[in-house]
Symmetry: C2
Subunit: 144 residues, 2 copies
DNA sequence: ATAATATAGTTGGGTATGCAACGAATTTTG
DNA sequence: CAAAATTCGTTGCATACCCAACTATATTAT
């Protein structure tokens, strides 16, 4: 059978991004910030490196997303006392409505993506995609 | 269960793109052209609109990828006689080694992505991802 | 302790991509 | 048939992203 995993992943990713962009426009952020804002919300004080690792983003990408969130006043950073290179990130009050909106949009997108799936298929999809993304991180990267 | 389909799709897509970029560097193309070159190879005379639809790419994205392939001499276009707006696309001899390379890389990526999968899981992954990408095209887009 | 290495984060540059506005050709409508 | 609407493709602009080079701080090795 012809496998076309990447083609499907690409379509899912692009369409989801476009949906996020439309849904978050009113908050002045795009698809590129949602992941980071929620992660900071869920892990107060998280440093940039951890964000990069968790999303498998380049450090530069993470820096720029974080800068945008900071400019908008949605997060703030504190320098770590012990390691002065490290910035600990926190969500600001102002961002709470945005966080809630992102959760809702994420939920919506994920349920639209699994339209017509049985409960079993949906669970299986989660497991398979997780495994595949782990493989991507392990076997498709240059280093490691 | 918490669904995170988009996160996984995003990682798979980004890592695959990076792999394509590294693997195709010697041919002066990047991840953004592989889909189009193969499709033109498999469907001689295909117009730009069909490429856009099949990959669910924006028309502008398709135009730019096609322009790059043309500049490199990998494809040529012919104006349709009946409908003068339409460009029919064809692969040039020069591109054959590139086409073969892309097939090999695609195969490699897809097999790396399914590392550790049973035959059943692999087949299931294809079915589920296909379905999900169709849902993305149907339910996540603005129009239609 | 000092030199070599490693790590956190930033920056500059390039590619991929979507979106909106456009021009040209075609089709549909009244 | 002429005007309006649609369709094919292009272009300009903006965002997301990776990569490589860099600074500053921290850690390890000699």
């Amino acid at each position: 059978m012809e496998k076309r995993f990447t083609r499907y992943a690409s379509i899912i990713d692009r369409q989801s991004k476009s949906y996020y962009d439309r849904a978050l426009k009113e908050y002045k952020i795009g698809c590129g910030q949602q992941f980071f804002l929620l992660w900071i919300y869920e892990s107060p004080g998280v440093p940039l490196t951890v964000l990069s690792e968790q999303g498998r983003f380049d450090k530069g990408t993470t820096t720029k997303a974080v800068q945008k969130l900071k400019q908008l006043g949605y997060i703030r950073s504190e320098q770590d006392e012990k390691d002065k290179r490290m910035q600990k990130l926190f969500v600001e009050e102002k961002a709470i409505p945005v966080v809630e909106k992102i959760y809702a949009v994420r939920e919506k997108i994920n349920s639209l993506l699994s339209t017509g799936f049985t409960k079993e298929e949906e669970a299986l999809a989660g497991i398979i995609l997780k495994k595949m993304s782990e493989n991507a991180g392990t076997y498709l990267t240059e280093n490691k």
